[in-house]
Amino acid sequence: MAHEWQPDFEQLVDEHQSMVFSLAARMTGDRGLAEEVAQDVFLELDRHLRRMESPSHVCFWLRRVTMSRSTDALRRRRVRCTDLWIEIEERHGASGEEKESPLGARLEQMLATLPEPQRAALILRYQEDLTPEEIAATLDAPLATVKSQLQRGLKLLRAKAQSQLKQFVRVKR
């Protein structure tokens, strides 16, 4: 009954490559490393394909494994947080096809300077639009911890934005 759904690997790659790559890129701050992580995640999905029960299960599994592999990759590379935004600017955000506002780009750079758990929670919250409960399940963390990371991350990011982005503060006032 549970196995009526027949996953098609190629279609899953098409559907989810943007999500997986974006999560990995924002977590690692390195486009090349993010590509490697995305490739590893999809190859692992291929090995576990028979265990996938539904499209939503695949989505949940991909988010969870991507976050975990990104953290592992980040630790292996020992990329320092202070360097991340520079890398993002050089490798990730400098593409000609980007259409985001300069404010958005700066926010993304500042996000990269946040501590890893706060960054993970905020990325899942604002990129993937997950609820704190879903984030807790994805990161396998207690709900209270996730809520606190979201709150602290937002506060820190907002403080950085207010001190660095005069434009933003002016607009909001």
Binding site: V13, R26, Q39, L43, D46, G104, E108, Q127, L154, F168
Partner: protein, 111 residues
């Protein structure tokens, strides 16, 4: 008053964190690597089956050899037993003949 800028800030953050398109070559790389891994897995599976078949053949040859040797020893043992029995029968027959002749001699001496 405090909440309003935060909501706008969150909106801005949500826009800044929209999903980005994956690099154009990513899917091709994934599919190529998947194909390579599948071939590798298939090859290693074939090697495993070949080794298993070779091991089974070896076990069959050794087992057959041992069984043949045991049967051969049994056959030889049976043959030896049969020959001993024949020898005993011949010896028994000869002894009976000698006994009969001796009995005839004793009877002649007595008369």
């Amino acid at each position: 008053m405090e909440q309003e800028p935060l909501n706008e800030f969150e909106q801005e953050l949500r826009q800044a964190l929209e999903r980005r398109p994956a690099p154009p070559g990513l899917k091709r790389k994934i599919m190529a690597e998947r194909g390579r891994l599948h071939t590798e897995r298939l090859r290693s599976r074939t090697v495993i089956w070949q080794r298993l078949a070779a091991s089974l053949a070896l076990v069959a040859v050794v087992g057959g050899g041992v069984a043949w040797r045991e049967r051969e020893q049994e056959r030889k043992g049976e043959e030896a037993r049969r020959q001993v029995m024949i020898a005993l029968r011949i010896t028994g027959h000869a002894l009976n003949t000698v006994k009969t002749q001796l009995a005839g001699h004793h009877r002649g001496d007595g008369e």
